[in-house]
């Protein structure tokens, strides 16, 4: 039982970083970012390049992942998404653009970094015992960093001027504009922050699970599951979705054969959406 709790807590913290980024972008831009998993992947590959190829410290790699993926997000928002949202009245165009962006990033990564799985050795070695549970020191460190980053993001969006502007934009774009907020700038910042979070998550998890150029779609799928559970565009909902998915996986893998776990998760998700399609904390649909 202790092992299930440890596994669930670690998975939840890792997933929360991924879910936070995608829900920020959805909340601010109303864009379902299909390229979120690819941004996670690029973050991991940047850390790999910095630490393994250039042999620089891990902290430098993580910072580089946050900055570079954040800048990529801002660039994509400014040059592609903002323009498409301005000139197009059909909402699915931004989705098509996100899908195209995902494929573009995936193929660039495949070309630049190759087809192999890339990973870095654990930042710290050793295994702790927590009752009867095993807790590898590296996972504990990733867990702690993830919690610290989640707290930092929550502080930023709740207590800074830009963070409050992002939340206002997510609630009512027109009212925010009338209040004198530069919505284009805030949108770009929000997209960049969401992308940077995906990059950091990839940079953290490359020391646990590694990344490859094709991992993006799987990550995006999990991110969508989390925001469907918690409610799209709601920060608290993303965290709740991450905890729900993390513990569902940990409990499922402990009690059932692996193949049954995701079958049950998807079945439960479908039933849940039939009852509460907006997610636990989302607004009622339509």
């Amino acid at each position: 039982m202790e092992q299930i709790l440890v596994n669930g807590a670690i998975l939840s913290a890792n997933y929360a970083l991924i879910a936070l980024g995608i829900t920020l972008i959805f909340g601010i831009m109303n864009v379902l970012n299909f390229a979120h998993g690819q941004m996670f992947m690029i973050g991991g590959l940047i850390v790999y390049t910095v630490c393994v190829v250039f042999k620089l410290p891990y902290a430098v790699g993580l910072l580089a992942a946050a900055v570079i993926v954040g800048l990529i997000g801002m660039l994509l928002e400014r040059t592609l998404f903002q323009r498409v949202m301005r000139i197009s009245s059909r909402e699915e165009n931004t989705m098509l653009l996100a899908v195209g962006t995902a494929l573009l990033l995936e193929n660039i990564a495949l070309y630049v970094f190759g087809e192999k799985q890339r990973g870095i050795p654990p930042m710290v070695s050793g295994v702790y015992r927590l009752g009867s549970a095993f807790l590898p020191a590296n996972r504990l460190l990733v867990f702690a960093i993830s919690l610290a980053l989640i707290a930092a993001v929550l502080l930023f969006v709740n207590f800074t001027r830009q963070g409050r502007a992002m939340r206002a934009l997510a609630q009512d774009r027109t009212a925010t504009m009338l209040m004198g907020v530069d919505v284009n700038r805030i949108s770009m910042l929000g997209f960049g922050l969401g992308a940077a979070l995906a990059g950091i998550a990839g940079g953290l998890l490359i020391s646990v699970s590694g990344v490859n150029a094709g991992i993006g779609t799987a990550i995006s799928t999990k991110a969508f599951i989390m925001i469907m559970i918690g409610g799209a565009g709601v920060i608290g909902g993303a965290l709740l979705g991450a905890v729900a998915l993390g513990f569902a996986e940990a409990i499922g893998y402990a009690l059932f054969p692996g193949s049954v776990t995701y079958l049950l998760i998807f079945t439960a998700l479908i039933l849940f959406l039939l009852i509460r399609p907006q997610g636990i904390m989302g607004k009622p649909w339509g």
């Binding site: 799985q117 692996g258 339509g286």
Partner: protein, 407 residues
Amino acid sequence: MMEATRRRLLKGAGALAVAGVMATAVGLGATGAAFAEGKTLKIGQLGVMSGAEASWGLVNKYAAQATAEMWNAKGGVDIGGEKYKIEIVSVDDRNDPKLTVSGAERLMGQEGIRYVIGSNTDVTATSIRPIAEKYNAMYFPYASSRSLYTKPAENAVMGMVASYQVAPAILKLLKAERGVQKVAFVARNDSDGLSNRDDAVKAAKDLGLDVVSATATYEANATDFFPVMSNVVGTAPDLIFLPASAPSNTPLLMRAARELGYAGLFASDSGQDIKVINEMAGDAGNGLVSIGGASADAIRSEYMDDFIKAYTKVAGEWNDEAGTKVYALEVILATLQATGPSAIEDTNVFKAAIPGFSMKNPFLKEDSKLTFTGEADYGQKRQIGVPLVLTETKDGQFTTLAIGQVD
């Protein structure tokens, strides 16, 4: 906060599908241009080259391109007194049978190619069969399903050693030499992973081994193996067998087990890459027995050294998995040289030559023959007689444990 509708999600899913098809079409268009002069022999390569399993098909592609470059550098391959430049035409099926079918139609129908390397999984390889029979084309899958190679099927030739041939050899060796008694199996939850697992479990039981866990599986897109390994390590096996484990997953599975205190052996019936194991698992990567190729230092020939250089030039870096995929094109070309040019268009001539074909294995240092095999498993010779090389990871290297041959 923001409005979201079911319609948006459905549109998103549709958008993904459309973009996937578009990406495949773009990939197809990127195939090489025809040679300007002289005769050209087109060889198809069809497999998964994007997504999580991209490495399987890309290694096939790079291996075929490297072989083609080596032959083209010598002026081409001599068939019936004429030199043919080799052109590799690649199609990415994204591990989706629908795209495999359209890719096979493109290669075998529109391009008129009669020899295709791939695909990479049982499901996609099975989907090629009707297309190959329609155009009477030969294909060389990296898939184990017996029905592909057993009569009435006759157009597929397996390019590797099958899982049900590898698993008994590994288990027998480890029982005899390492005293393994208790085995646990952890399989990828897809057709190949589960069928390989069933074959390996049967082999273990036939050998009188104690199967302590056979139901643990993980999803193909899993990134964290700690939960699934927690259960398996709890059964205290001497050996954890990883059927059909991808090179990207194997080191993570090993690392998770080691972090949970497991000190025993690992085994896999699929090819692995030592660089990935070292990067991902470090010291936890020791003690993996798996199928190896022709690239181990102790066994490889100078020709294999040249291949490694050519592969590195094409792909940017060497991949040990390519040592298991080096044979297909070389054997196709040697068989065509033996039959003469009529087999380029008429694969019945190629099929007729299969039973008597033999060549020196150019990739191994020691003098050994390459033939077509498979009579014991399929009742006909529909498998390239790739040597069964078993390796073990030790201090960041593959060390050769045994070399055998499939009947």
